[in-house]
């Protein structure tokens, strides 16, 4: 085990190699180029095949072939490139071919920009390609999780004979965090009794999705449906249960990390708030989410888009709790401060945070602990006596005396 | 005294100091200037008094429209200069 400071994009390469992936095809597109670049170096070192394909369409179809031949294969791209891959994703699902796909999301729609976003949720989870099918979708939030989920993706792909999508974003792709990298070890890869490697000593096999005879395609779809139902147990999530919470904040990936900072701040100010982070977007952890939602008075979904996962959250809670949304589209990252403001709007309360907020006001403060924070720690957390959160509804709209005191002192320098 | 047929003005704010003007000037009329321009480069500079013939090579090679070639009538204006 070596603890390495490594970039999200590059850790995906390391994990793929550790999982026994020996075929990679990809086309350059920002912000995932480090995956293609590191694969160009590392895959030949591991004795595998690296191909820079002429386009994303070629890349995923090269992986289709490699998977059919029995190799663990992976391609990676970003949003516009993943749009190009949709036809092949439908084919991979229809033909029941194991394959790992990586989408490092960027701002869209169209050419968009190269900033991180989460605006491909619909594309990832609701299809994107044609027909009744699903990909398993894993959504890492840390570089360590990107490593672990890439390993998991290959195993799930083989377990279910299905394409698996690792849905990351441009920020996670560029982020560097310490990860314990296990050196790739020889794996006993699951035998693929469906691969095409020449019908020597066995009956010929067939890979196809064209099923023209009466009723055959319908039957195949039911078979796929049954498989998708059996995947329900793969749902994963992370949460922090708390009884009687005013608000449940739901987010995935990088948005969840920003939301956690806001939740921590709000709790220190006395707000009872819980968070829930789906780690699989398909299958969606609906039951666990519904349970968590029912402990809360309201749900706030936080995403880097115009509102996509929020629809699945509404479906999951089935009207039992009001669901609100906060997000920013077009490649904008969510500052915790804005999430905190959205949380306050959701519960209809004001929390005065700026005076002793732990959320940095400027970039320069990130990494340094503000002096006011230290003061807070020594004093202990503010008690209700000096909390700015109104104790009763009657106080909403009146400025507590303690608040006035802070304002006259001015913001901390 | 050398008779100038041309004089170049380098627009310092557009120059990215690629040096291709200097590379292809047959009369060695360019040098690196001083100070950083807003783009972060030390812009090129036309050496005043150099033997520019207004051949146009510099403007032909400049990717940034940073070269202005000013020509003068050789007989009249050159007389006035000398």
């Amino acid at each position: 085990m070596t603890r390495t400071l490594i970039k999200g994009n590059e850790v995906i390469t390391e994990a793929a190699l550790a999982a026994g992936c020996r075929f990679y095809a990809g086309y350059p597109i920002t912000p995932q180029n480090e995956i293609t670049g590191s694969m160009a170096r590392r895959m030949p070192e591991a004795g595998g095949v690296f191909i820079q394909a002429e386009s994303e369409i070629a890349a995923i179809n090269l992986c289709f072939g490699a998977s059919v031949a029995g190799a663990r294969a992976m391609t990676s791209t970003s949003s516009p490139g993943f749009s190009l891959m949709q036809e092949a994703v439908s084919y991979l699902a229809a033909c029941e071919i194991s394959c790992v796909l990586v989408n490092v999301m960027r701002g869209g729609p169209g050419l968009g920009n190269i900033q991180p976003s989460q605006s491909d949720y619909f594309q990832a989870v609701k299809g994107g390609g044609h027909g009744d099918y699903h990909c398993l979708v894993l959504a890492p939030a840390t570089v360590e999780e990107a490593y672990a989920f890439t390993l998991l993706a290959f195993d799930l792909a083989d377990k279910y004979r299905n394409p698996v999508l690792l849905l990351a974003d441009g920020l996670l792709g560029q982020l560097m965090e310490p990860v314990d990298l296990a050196p790739p070890k020889p794996l006993s890869l699951p035998a693929r009794d469906w691969k095409l490697d020449g019908a020597k000593g066995r009956k010929p096999r067939l890979i196809r999705s064209l099923l023209m005879e009466e009723g055959v395609l319908e039957k195949h779809n039911y078979k796929l449906a049954k498989k998708y139902q059996s995947m329900a147990g793969e749902a994963r999530w992370e949460s922090d249960p708390q009884e009687g919470s005013e608000l449940l904040v739901v987010g995935y990936g990088i948005a969840a990390r920003a939301a956690k900072a806001a939740v921590r701040e709000a709790r220190e100010k006395g707000m009872k708030v819980e968070w829930f982070r789906p780690q699989t977007l398909w299958p969606f952890p609906s039951e666990a989410l519904r349970e968590a939602a029912q402990r809360a008075e309201k749900v706030l979904v936080v995403e880097m888009n115009l509102g996509q996962m929020v629809e699945d959250v509404r479906l999951a809670v089935e009207g039992s709790v009001p669901v609100e949304f906060f997000g920013r589209p077009g490649g904008a990252v969510l500052p915790p401060r804005e999430i905190l403001e959205a949380m306050q709007r959701a519960v209809g309360k004001r929390i005065k945070v700026y005076a002793d907020s732990h959320i940095p006001k400027t970039d320069m403060e990130i990494g340094t602990i503000p002096a006011s924070f230290k003061k807070d720690v020594s004093k202990g957390r503010p008690t209700c006596a000096d909390s700015h959160i109104p104790k009763t509804d009657k106080e909403i709209g009146t400025i507590p005396a303690s608040f006035k005191k802070d304002v006259s002192k001015g913001r901390p320098a | 005294m050398a008779k100038q047929k041309g004089r170049v003005k380098v627009e310092a704010g557009r120059c990215k100091a690629c040096g291709l003007c200097a590379e292809y000037c047959p009369k060695d009329c360019f040098e690196t200037g001083e100070g950083l321009n807003p783009l972060g480069y030390v812009p090129m500079r036309f050496k005043d008094g150099s033997d520019c013939t207004a051949c146009g090579n510099c403007a032909m090679m400049c990717p940034d429209m940073a070269i202005q070639i000013w020509t003068m009538d050789v007989t009249a204006e050159a007389e006035a200069l000398s």
């Binding site: 160009a40 | 990717p63 429209m65 070639i69």
Partner: protein, 244 residues
């Protein structure tokens, strides 16, 4: 004294975001000069690629549209079919034209759509960080050929020669931007290609060898020298087809 070289009307005042010594600046200017000299600025529609020149519309003072990566000739052909009397051109790099757009350029050329294609060849993918392009010469190191390109990744593709196997194209030329004499020749090639379009003659493509000092890891001066000495070995200059 008078100013000998005016800024072309078809070029905006905006300083480009291209790297120091990048050939795009010269190529954009040549296209602008040709369009001005033909008096066609107000009748021109350009199609910009995905690549460094995705921002070309900031630098040209006429109508320009973006196109999805590689589909640039299709967008140009679509415009030309609807507005046959306009000057319509696509401006593409190695990835846009010869990689993801290979299908589109072949079929646009095959249909003989009356557009002009300006193909900028700088032997790598600049915008995304210097990866191999279909035009990367053998042995050249890029971020996806860290040990140098081998034949396993394919040989470099000569596009005008490839299109020369088709019936329809009228004019296919390869010139270079590496020194003043060649820049002048390049302008003449562009002028001819645009003139043929105005005359309704059919599809033409002009490839221009250009530099990418940043990703080649060279100074601009070394980069132009490399084009003039080394790159021309893989991509010989001169007319490949002239059916005009």
């Amino acid at each position: 004294m008078k100013l000998a070289n005016l800024k072309p009307e078809s070029l905006t005042e905006t300083p480009t975001g291209y790297c120091s010594g990048c050939g795009h600046g010269v190529a954009h200017r040549l296209v602008a000069e040709v369009i001005d000299e033909m008096g066609m600025r107000e009748n021109t529609v350009g199609v910009a690629p995905v690549g460094c020149a995705v921002f070309a519309y900031d630098y040209w003072n006429f109508d320009v549209t973006e196109a999805p990566h590689g589909r640039t000739p299709c967008v140009a052909a679509g415009i030309k079919r609807v507005l046959p009397d306009r000057v319509v051109f696509s401006y593409q790099g190695d990835g846009d034209l010869a990689s993801i757009g290979m299908g589109e350029i072949i079929h646009t050329a095959n249909r003989g759509d009356n557009i002009t294609v300006v193909f900028i060849n700088n032997a790598n993918y600049g915008m995304t960080g210097g990866q191999m392009a279909p035009t990367t010469p053998l042995g050249m190191k890029t971020s996806t050929t860290p040990l140098g390109r081998t034949a396993e990744a394919g040989h470099p593709i000569r596009v005008p020669e490839l299109l020369n196997a088709l019936e329809a194209p009228v004019y296919l030329d390869r010139q270079s931007l590496h020194d003043p004499a060649h820049v002048r020749k390049a302008k003449n090639a562009l002028k001819k290609a645009f003139r043929l379009q105005v005359e309704g003659k059919g599809f033409s493509l002009v490839e221009l060898l250009s530099t990418c000092p940043s990703n080649w890891g060279m100074t601009p001066q070394d980069a132009v020298k490399w084009v003039g000495v080394e790159m021309v070995k893989t991509f010989p200059l001169g007319v490949i087809r002239d059916k005009s």
